[in-house]
Amino acid sequence: MTASVELAGVSKRYQDQLITDSIDLVVAKGEFLTLLGPSGCGKTTTLRMIGGFEVPDEGTVRINGEDVTSLAPYQRRVNTVFQHYALFPHLTVFENIAYGLRRKGAAAERIREKVARGLDLIQMRGMEKKLPAQLSGGQKQRVAMARALACDPEVLLLDEPMSALDVKLRKEMQVELKHLQRELGLTFIFVTHDQEEALVMSDRIAVMNRGRLEHVGSAEEVYERPRTEFVADFLGVKNFFRGRLEGVAGEGRHRWLTESGLTILSDTAGSARPGDTRQLGVRPEKVYCGEEMSRPMSNQFAGTVDDLLYTGPTTSRRVTLAGGTALEALSPSRPGALAGSEVQVGFDSKNVLVLEAS
């Protein structure tokens, strides 16, 4: 696997504020990488530095091994699908898609061919005469896509391209986009703040926080084994405990004592040594409640259900334990413990995440 995009120690400041802090990232050819993070985390700035709209204060940007740090956008074989599409309002769909080709001075015949292929790709044949103002949100997004792809970029950058679409359309487009990427075998760098979107589409996810990469890994890895508390929190871990590693329990398990006096067993201890404190996390869907617990669990407590939230397919219960600790349990909606009832809650030691500080 060769590197398509390579960031080495890339930092960017705005008036003393560090927007990105020494980012190192290698994106392989044909990979779908997502920069995920809350707004203001530096993900868009990172994308803009790859696109050439921002020049890093430190570090280098390489594309296909070539140092492009100080090249202007039009000198890079990288194209962007902008957040609000930035379609040229005075040009037709055809001319929008042909824009990049015309700038390169392509022959009319070739332009027609490429635009036709682009229109096929986005299934918008017959719409070439329309103006952007006459298109729906989804169509605009596709035209923006075709316009960027018509230039045969090495890398396609996508800056929250779905944020203006409604939920249903967004879901469809996610799948479509992923298929397109596979078909074309292009490197995609995708920016979003929507973890679900990131999980659905990405080969790898780079979670960013305050200008730094917190965790880079496959979707599964980032979801199942988040490295830090921030990543865990961002990807939906709801139950956190601050615990001290007491020592080893039976069957290779580690024993933690939380501040509220619970004893929790985990399969791993990460880098912690006995006596160290760590943040522990458990996903709500890994917490079983009452009758769902078909077998005894390695971590099992008695508590009271004091809140119940029904969302359709799933039901979330908040259970308060003896020491005052609250646990959230998420389970498929089925008749179960009602609010106020006393229940047993539990989770397996293998599902206990040991998190590094952010």
């Binding site: 709209f53 956008p73 902008f82 609000h84 930035a86 040229f88 309002p89 824009y99 990049g100």
Partner: protein, 290 residues
Amino acid sequence: MSQRHSRSSWKAALLDPALGWLLAFFLAPIAVMLVISFARRGTYGGIEWVFGVGNYVRALAPDYLTIYVRTVLMAAATTLICLVMAYPAAYYIALKADPKWRSFYLLLAVVPFWTSFLIRTYAWILLLRTEGLINTMLVGMGLVSEPLKLLYCDSAVLMGLVYGELPFMILPLYSALSRLDTGLLEAAEDLGASPAQAFWTVTVPLTLPGIIVGTVFVFIPSLGAFVTPDLLGGSKSIMIGNRVQDLFASVRDQPFGAAISFLLTLIVLTMLVGAMRVKGRTDSLHGSTI
């Protein structure tokens, strides 16, 4: 007039203040002018109500054609120079200047209007004349051996017109440029357009409505100018406005003056309709109006 108007009764016409306005200030004067333009000059300067097209035949004499051509060329040159000068200024104010200073810069463009145009024109005379400031300085510094002919020539008229009309170009261009989505320029650059290409393929087409409005604002008053050619041109190569002024004020040939005025109004109206058409089309493309 739209179909709605032609179908509605006379009452509606009386009841619509906008229509009343149009009637009182636009159609009525033009109608009066049109009627007079077919009359004849009385022997001693009055209006003799004998109708004919003689005035229009006279208005198309070769001497007048020369004046029309010069007037149109002058106005066109003024418009072009204003456009070339105003675009960078408006671009800077709208897109590059510190937003804090934006209104200040705009104010600067308008400040000259606080002084009477006549006074400002006389100030130019003081600067440009043979024994004026500029020539005295040039001769004093030994840059030229004898004073340059800066005043009382076509270039002086052109300069005066450009000076007077420039703000009318800057303001609509500013208005158009300040609404330009700079994201589109990034998109163009992203797609391989150099900054110059992005300017010509995105900025210019998208600010076309502003360019059209500015052109109209500058071209039309330039077409009717008579003070500037009189004072800065020494009345030597006159524009059509001078002729109209002469015909009304000193020759007292009101019918002929009205005929020329009407022809001028006709040209201007045709242009306006054309400009509005083009602008309307571009507006609908951009979904924007000025």
